[in-house]
Amino acid sequence: MSSWIVALLGGVLIGLSATGLLLFNGRIAGISGIVNGLMRRSSGADWAWRAAFVAGLVGAGGLTMHLLHQTTASPARLPVLLLAGVLVGFGTSLGGGCTSGHGVCGLGRFSRRSLVAVLTFMASAIVTVFLTHHVFGGAA
């Protein structure tokens, strides 16, 4: 199968997952928000669905990567990798969402807020890649 069909199919599965979580649990499938909720004191039921979602994500996703022999690591060197992690955690908390919450779910709800967020993080990421790959040379 051509790779773009596989990518489209993977995207549809992600969309169906988000649809399922909204239909059954009434929740937005935003990974950063779900994880952040786990680090907050909350009721047992609220904690349970979040923990279950993350367990399914990490377990089934990790297994699928293993079965598909996906072993690619990030090309970022250690200090850059850690800085990137902090920026992603801080930025998604401040901006109220990541690729899944604003991208997959927010755009699906035709939210103007999410559209602005998606255009902003896309532009920022493209500029960052341009600077690290083409201006300062080599993978960061």
């Binding site: 790779s3 773009w4 990518a7 993977g10 995207g11 549809v12 599965l13 969309g15 169906l16 988000a18 649809t19 239909l23 649990n25 009434g26 929740r27 937005i28 990974i31 950063s32 994880v35 952040n36 680090m39 279950a52 979602f53 993350v54 399914g56 994500l57 990490v58 377990g59 089934a60 996703g61 990790g62 699928t64 990567m65 996906q70 690619t72 690591a73 850059v80 990137a84 992690g85 902090v86 920026l87 992603v88 801080f90 930025g91 908390s93 401040l94 901006g95 109220g96 690729t99 899944s100 991208g103 997959v104 779910c105 755009l107 699906g108 993080f121 896309m122 920022s124 960052t128 341009f130």
Partner: protein, 138 residues
């Protein structure tokens, strides 16, 4: 219990989708973001497939009075486009572009034991905690 099982299945489907779509491969992500270099359009099809699905399905789901296993829908109430939204998205984008990981793929990569993902995830959680501390104090 039923709600947790539903969430487990949705999480699993999400993770399988990310891996099949190869969004879990930082080089595919960085290739998509490298529009001035060796551009890889794969991720555009992932985003298209996902938003096409939610764009159609969410319309029907939100017409229901309530979700199947919960009392109400928890949808974001904020509608204003403000500085935290734009600044947060810009900061997130910079981190995404530096490492090629956003939260979901980083967690999945950690699940299969990829070292860079295992290092990225604690840093990401530290960033979230730092934000919460800042907000709590200022």
């Amino acid at each position: 219990m039923k709600a947790a099982i539903a969430a487990l299945c949705c999480g699993a489907l999400f993770g399988i989708g990310l891996a099949i779509a190869r969004m879990t491969d930082p080089l595919v992500v960085l290739g998509f973001l490298d529009i001035f270099g060796d551009f890889d359009p794969t991720l555009a099809f992932v985003l298209l497939g996902a938003t096409m699905t939610t764009g159609i399905a969410f319309h029907f789901v939100t017409r229901r009075a309530r979700p199947i296993l919960a009392a109400e829908f928890h949808l974001p109430a904020t509608r204003t486009i403000d500085l935290p939204l734009v600044l947060g998205a810009a900061i997130f984008g910079a981190g995404w572009g530096l490492a090629g990981y956003c939260p979901g793929p980083a967690l999945v990569g950690a699940g299969t034991g990829i070292e860079t993902a295992l290092l990225f995830v604690p840093a990401m959680l530290a960033g979230s905690i730092a934000y919460r501390q800042l907000r709590h104090h200022y």
